[in-house]
Symmetry: C2
Subunit: 336 residues, 2 copies
DNA sequence: CTGTTAGCGCTTTCAG
DNA sequence: CTGAAAGCGCTAACAG
């Protein structure tokens, strides 16, 4: 006894339209060699029956699942909470959606698990974002030949979308230098991260270029948490020496929480100390005062990555891309 | 001519292990009626060949995809940016992961699109979160008989996980009332949302219980954006009457941005005006001063929803659940 | 305990 | 232009 919720298959559609199943398939897949009237009859039968082709059958036959796995490898625990990657993910979803691809979120999966996704053919490709990934994992993934695109990371032989961290940092520093600040601190959550290292490099090189010796007492790591910048700032303030005139945060959370430490220590921003961040997360513009920062077009980052993985899936090896950044000067670094 | 990257199938494993394909299948699916030594031989052949069963073939045969679609229907545009749902999503992913289920993120998909996911059998069920969904959409989805669980919303006949908004709001108000505040404002992004309406109801009922007439000039909507609370607060401050002594935000963003409006108007929190929010998003604890709020266990919300949809997929209709909230008193509402 | 066989629902030759 | 038939890779009877 069949329940009313039985799946309707191509065979029933064929029967109702009075054609063979191959014809139904053709009609649905836009085969040009089919009579317009036949196609119309098939299509209307599909509508009447509420027929939708089984994705499993289709995948099995075509050898592709029409979905891509998105892995987020970040140092923050519940990764999706990272506002930065949340935005990148938004861009990815938009681009995949536009290509009628599906997005398998695998932010918790690691190494073999990730590999398994591809080997089972549950996904046609993998988009790996974040630069807190062990090189060996990337090496292993790369070796398998799975279509793979890196976002915010790079690895020899793999296509990637990255950001000009060094250049961005230099522009931010130049801005601070131009405003007349000389003693500039650098606060970061961690330096075990290629992106932050590049930003630190930009900090150092801008300083060098301005003929300022880098005071290592002004560079601090505060730990991998939202409050990392807070702790780094505290540490800097606690060290002897003079208070810095400005602070460059390796990312917005670091800058924002360093800000908090400054405020707690009685300094006003930007009157006493200027602050500049990096990333331009949503929050930064709404902070009081709004945070000056180096904007990364996170949506574009995701979108570009998605388009690249789609290209890769379709057989064209995409060129790696480096996105430029844009300095956004807001209240936190403006001389009053 | 075969390339080296040809998929390895069950047949090759069978050949290598010197058994039939059914035996391989049994070994892999933990069939108890199989000789331990045979199983070992099969398993090692799988390992040697790097064999992973095709998910498409399996889905086709078993009639389930082992993945659930997650739709986020929220009033904020790039929905994933809503920090609240980002956390819920984290809980969902954890629970699905634990059950070896996959998560198809469909935050952009609407109505028919969502339905299609299920009809194509790309997902075994749908988790719909957010209460900014047209009733008719839910009605349509419900009628199809697709396994469906609502998070943060409810609809006749559909299992759901909700939050005790009314109760939570009453507790928050009682706290403010206990602290001696009488003129309490209510700011919200919108009232076209059942949850916020329930919170407003809690506001009103707590006021009534305390014998305080509700001054409608103290209730304001500021619009659907991060700064909604800001605009609402501005409006209240602009209206004649006295300044409120305290503000209850319908959610944390509203409270936080109302806060900003207060600060801009020269009021200090909590010295001049106390502020309490709702949700306890990550940011609230890190704000200066930290925001008092009504905590929702967002992770649990997601986890519960995920477990319910899994149950539903396995044929048991789960009971709807209402989660309790917890008042978290922090600096923004503490009498100094 | 294990092998053979029949499909799951679709796409795609290959003949008309 | 259209239909019949052959699988895609797997699982689940059904026989041994």
């Amino acid at each position: 006894m069949r329940t009313s919720s039985e799946r309707v298959t191509i065979r029933e559609v064929a029967a109702r339209a009075g054609v063979g199943i191959a014809t139904v398939s053709r009609a649905l897949n836009g085969d040009p060699e089919i009579a317009a009237t036949t196609r119309a009859r098939v299509l209307s039968a599909c509508r009447d029956l509420g027929y939708k082709p089984s994705s499993a059958a289709r995948s099995l036959k075509r050898g592709r699942s029409e979905s891509v796995g998105v892995a987020i490898l970040s140092r923050h625990a519940p990764v999706i909470l990272n506002p930065y990657y949340a935005e990148v993910l938004g861009g990815v979803e938009m681009a995949l959606e536009a290509a009628d691809y599906h997005l398998l979120l695998s932010s918790l999966k690691r190494n073999e698990e990730l590999l398994k996704l591809a080997q089972e053919r549950r996904v046609d490709g993998l988009l790996v974002m974040g630069c807190d990934v062990a090189e060996q994992v990337l090496g292993a993934l790369a070796k398998t030949g799975i279509p793979l695109v890196l976002i915010d990371n790079s690895f020899d032989g793999l296509p990637s979308v990255t950001v000009d961290h060094l250049g961005g940092a230099r522009v931010a520093m130049r801005h601070l230098l131009d405003e007349g600040y000389r003693r500039i601190a650098f606060v970061t959550e961690t330096l075990h991260n290629a992106n932050f290292q590049a930003r630190l490099l930009g900090y150092r090189s801008a300083l060098a270029e301005a003929g300022i010796a880098c005071d290592e007492a002004l560079v601090a790591e505060g730990g991998n948490s939202w409050e990392g910048g807070y702790h780094a700032m505290k540490a800097i303030l606690a060290r002897a020496g003079e208070t810095p005139e400005a602070v460059f945060g390796a990312n917005d959370p670091a800058a924002l929480t360093a800000f908090k430490a400054l405020r707690e220590a009685g300094y006003r921003v930007p009157d006493d100390v200027a602050v500049v961040g990096f990333d331009d997360i949503h929050l930064s513009a709404h902070h009081t005062p709004p945070l000056s920062t180096v904007r990364i077009d996170k949506r574009l980052l995701g979108q570009t990555g998605a388009e690249m993985i789609l290209a890769r899936i379709n057989g064209v090896i995409p060129e790696s891309v480096e996105l430029a950044t844009e300095l956004v000067v807001r209240g936190s670094s403006r001389r009053v």
